[in-house]
């Protein structure tokens, strides 16, 4: 048995029965990394020693009947924007090449406290800005299904590591598709959660009003298991949603939002989130579901093989008794523009903290004599000019422009207004439909180098994933099959705010029809 190929569900059962230990499981992953990572370049840092130590502790707990649950002893990887105290965290940027975080991300602490075993850090586009990991300062992550192609981005390292069975699951971040698109390109399941459901504390920011954290895994069931651990209110994150089951249906209602004051926060703290058990709804019947197909997501730009795969998925779902109907989200055509205006505006502001003063790369040399001519402004400009890669620089430039005096109204404010229209269109549709489905990306994985010198084309390739983030709603990418060239294609399932249980329910029912998620790349 190749232990590294197991799902979390299978592995946790094996651990429970004593068929193997967490050390066995962790060793299998570490060996797999040694064997294949030179081909795909998913890992930026492997902490074999730390992982084996954590695995041994997990085994000890299990022996003493003190196991912490399904994730106890399960090896995983973190995208390299999650801070882990004492472990190098680079955001795949030269500017943070040697950065050692003084504190850890909340989600890391939650996983550690659940007994999960951290194997190391995986690649991303620099500061998660990109759709291919080609913007990483440390080389592209190749697609395990075709090494001449990209793994997608920005969570390409996470998706490739899961697809190549180097770990059992990984965490990524999704600002405009950065979990869903690589999941689709690599044939893993990837969930973009409702904005505010998972704490972002200790995770490096790209665009703060879009950023979310979510899992990439080998099955929908595993996604639900991970979500059970990472979801929930965190007072360290001001955008974290105090979420109790009573509010699960409508915390965004006007009548309720008045109540969002301190009493509700206090309640969220005291009841420690009455979150749903995301594994409970997985096997519920989907027959009564009503699904919408927004026609703007099936337009001219969709490649024929992607269209064929998704149309087959729609047929499969119809056969299961789901009611499917065409619908429309007319403002979708503005999504790319509003997404990139807002994302780059927020990014330019977020990246201003990298200035060579407090941490990271710095033009201030260690030798005092060399600094005699360096004034403060030159420290800023030189550090940032040398430290950031092309896409980070482009983001800073674009965001600085759209926020600058005289242009703010035409760009940032206008985009924020159109954002309202997009959000309202989704809200209207979810009064009529339980869920919406579409392809994740108009194309399967593209060739390395194909789009990197043309940022506009790269931006436009995100057309089917970016509309979700301005609205804040959740969406999953689930493996839906392969093109005739053997490249994976993902099905996107979108739901209303906090609609994760329903999304996962449909994803689970769908993936069991053809079991595409079980197919593995030849590496």
């Amino acid at each position: 048995m190749e232990l590294n190929k197991l799902t979390i569900k299978e592995a946790s059962e094996g651990l429970k029965k004593g068929e193997f230990t967490s050390v066995d499981l962790t060793k299998a992953c570490l060996e797999r990394i040694k064997e294949v990572d030179k081909k795909i370049n998913a890992f930026l840092l492997v902490d074999g020693e730390g992982a084996l130590k954590a695995a041994a502790e997990s085994d000890k707990r299990r022996k003493e009947k003190k196991s912490l649950g399904q994730l106890d002893g399960i090896p995983y990887a973190l995208k390299d924007v999650f801070c882990v105290e004492g472990m190098k965290t680079t955001a795949a940027s030269k500017i943070l090449e040697d950065f050692i975080p003084p504190y850890s991300a909340t989600v890391y602490e939650k996983l550690r406290d659940a007994g999960a075993v951290l194997l190391g850090k995986v690649n991303t586009d620099e500061f998660t800005m990109g759709s291919s990991t080609e913007n990483s300062a440390f080389g592209v992550t190749k697609n395990p299904w075709d090494l001449t192609r990209v793994s997608g981005g920005s969570s390409g390292g996470s998706a490739a590591a899961v697809a190549a069975d180097e770990c059992l699951f990984a965490l990524g971040t999704d600002t405009g598709g950065s979990i869903r698109q690589p999941a689709s390109f690599c044939s893993t399941v990837g969930l973009k959660v409702t904005y505010g459901l998972v704490s972002r504390y200790g995770v490096m920011s790209y665009a703060s009003s879009f950023d979310t954290i979510g899992p990439l895994a080998k099955s929908t069931e595993d996604i639900a298991i991970i979500l059970n651990t990472i979801a929930g209110y965190d007072e360290k994150d001001g955008t974290s949603v105090p979420y109790s089951s009573r509010e699960s249906r409508g915390w965004r209602d006007e009548s309720r939002s008045k109540e969002l004051g301190s009493s509700r926060l206090a309640r969220a703290r005291s009841n420690n989130n009455l979150l749903p058990d995301y594994t409970k709804s997985l096997n519920k019947d989907i027959k009564e579901m009503k699904i919408g197909l927004p026609k703007e997501f099936f337009g001219k730009g969709i490649e024929s093989e992607v269209r064929r795969v998704i149309e087959k998925a729609i047929e499969d779902l119809k056969k299961m008794g789901v009611k499917i109907e065409e619908t429309s989200l007319p403002s979708t055509k503005y999504a790319i523009a509003i997404y990139y205006i807002i994302a780059k505006s927020e990014a330019s502001s977020n990246l201003s903290r990298y200035d060579g003063i407090k941490y990271g790369m710095s033009a201030i040399s260690k030798q005092p004599s060399a600094n005699s001519k360096l004034d403060l402004r030159s420290v800023y400009t030189k550090t940032r000019g040398d430290g950031f890669g092309p896409e980070a620089k482009r983001s800073i430039m674009l965001g600085t422009y759209t926020l600058s005096a005289g242009y703010y109204d035409a760009y940032y404010k206008k985009a924020s207004q159109v954002r309202t229209l997009i959000k309202e269109e989704y809200e209207e549709l979810f009064k009529k439909f339980d869920l919406l489905i579409s392809p994740v990306s108009p194309t399967p994985s593209f060739k390395i180098g194909e789009k990197i010198d043309d940022p506009l084309t790269m931006y436009l390739s995100d057309v089917l994933t970016v509309p979700i983030n301005p609205a804040g709603i959740p969406a999953v990418s689930v493996p839906a099959g392969f093109t005739k060239d053997g490249l994976p294609v993902g099905l996107q399932i979108m739901g209303p705010m906090l609609g994760e249980p329903k999304i996962l329910q449909l994803a689970r029912s769908y993936e069991e029809i053809n079991k595409w998620y079980k197919r593995k790349p030849n590496l």
Partner: protein, 104 residues
């Protein structure tokens, strides 16, 4: 919406980015293309639309106003301070040291 090299230089200056000549030329060209694409928003009527800057409906989120650390008694303070300073390129007496802002 063609950005001139001069405008591009000004933006880089505002953003405290030192760019090489070839970067300036490349960005002027690439950003012009992207900004052109953004122009389509002008056709949308947003006269009576409020802007959305966040989607949770939460506002005025502050932690409870209570003491979380006894600064005098806490032994971790010094350790935490060292941890935070560890990444600073230059420090002196427990402070981050920076080049002067004003000329003498």
């Amino acid at each position: 919406m063609a950005l001139s090299k001069k405008e591009t230089k000004k933006i880089a200056d505002l953003a405290r980015l030192k760019l090489k000549e070839e970067e300036l030329a490349k960005f002027a060209d690439q950003l012009s293309g992207v900004l052109d694409n953004f122009k389509m928003l002008s056709e949308v009527n947003t006269k009576n639309t409020k802007p959305t800057s966040q989607v949770t409906g939460l506002n005025n989120i502050c932690r409870e106003d209570k003491k979380i650390l006894d600064w005098k008694a806490n032994k971790d303070i010094k350790k935490n301070r060292e941890k935070l300073l560890m990444n600073a390129p230059k420090q002196e007496d427990g402070f981050i040291k920076v080049p002067g802002v004003f000329e003498e």
